[in-house]
Symmetry: C2
Subunit: 205 residues, 2 copies
DNA sequence: GTCTATACTCTGATAGAC
DNA sequence: GTCTATCAGAGTATAGAC
């Protein structure tokens, strides 16, 4: 039906990515539901429609698979947050932060498997892997640093604590969030309202 | 040497607890550092000075071991928090909450292995185990419900959100806390200050 | 390039000697 | 109460057929 073979320049790798994406999807699906340690290469291979050994053609190891899923997850959350911030009112720093937080929460709570894997506790038994994963997350969270720094706070020192409270409360929300309860955007609004009223006593009255 | 056999009423179990405690300590130590899945019964047995098979005389399974560690961990955190609340000013609900949060943070961050195991992500692959563990934690967190309900909030609806923000931020702190940084009690004070100023605009000025 | 077959190690758990 | 011996299964990874 198509002329695939005609596209086979060695610089491009169109078909390989299909396979890679399928494996990555399967890995994300399993890691999210079972956790990294409890997921077997046979599980992932089965979901991807191949046998365990075949995975090693595409990924060097189970660890490499986890890192790839994390990278993709962070990328997706970051894209969602960036889009939300761009769409938000440039003149209102609090609204911009709230938009970012809402997008962050939405990704974690209702997002796909990739986003959820990022938020799970990191495997503590492999220090090198752990360092790689933490670096990925920290780079992402830097954009929240910029957002809270832009806030008109009465005490500039509070920016750091504000970031930690907001991000911490958000990341922990996966333990109590219910799909039929308060939606992510509303959760973000509540969070922001409570910390905001404390920081800008003049602007709300 | 001793008259142990004379104490052998079936209601008491004095000698068994010694061995049990040693095994539990070893399990907590390993679970904290390696996580549940990556810890083997052989690891625990080795630390406890026995062989793997011998563990099964004291505990039915690896799962039973994890539950026992969780129970002990929750009990220790709860005791620390209760003591702190009792020692706090009965007339100042905010101070009481801050004292509880400080004790909670201190247990998680500088506490022993038991407390740290409780805060780690739960094994997702065993639904029944997960439910048991979540119930343990929820029962503990109920005391924070009482503490925030006692707060003189301008909007009583905020009590629930306040609890979620504080506990979430606290539980997430293990990912950024550094032993040589801000101590737990100060972290608690910062957290409380930021959310408090937002909720009692009249009482601080 | 992709998959089958398989190697080898380690896991949680059991049975029975002591 | 602890140990020895062992099991059946699952783990990651490789070699080589196709």
């Amino acid at each position: 039906m198509d002329g695939q073979t005609a596209l086979d320049t060695d610089a491009a790798r169109p078909r390989v990515n299909n396979r890679r994406a399928g494996i990555l999807n399967a890995a994300a699906y399993r890691f999210r539901r079972q956790g990294y340690a409890a997921t077997t290469m046979r599980d992932i291979a089965s979901d991807a429609g191949m046998l365990a050994g075949s995975l090693y053609y595409h990924f060097k190891s189970k660890t490499a698979l986890l890192i790839a899923v994390h990278e993709e997850g962070v990328r997706r959350i970051a894209d969602a947050v960036d889009s939300a911030v761009i769409a938000a009112d440039p003149a209102d720093p609090w609204k911009r932060l709230e938009a970012a937080l809402a997008a962050h929460l939405n990704s974690l709570l209702d997002g796909g498997d990739y986003a959820q894997v990022v938020i799970r506790d990191l495997p503590a038994d492999e220090p090198e892997l752990r360092a790689t994963l933490i670096k990925l997350r920290d780079d992402y969270e830097d954009r929240f640093r910029a957002l809270v720094d832009a806030l008109p706070l009465s005490n500039k020192q509070d920016a750091g604590w504000l970031r930690l409270i907001l991000l911490g409360a958000a990341n922990w929300s996966k333990t109590w969030y219910r799909p039929d309860g308060t939606p992510p955007a509303e959760i973000a609004a509540h969070f922001i309202r409570i910390v905001k009223n404390g920081e800008t006593p003049g602007s709300t009255t």
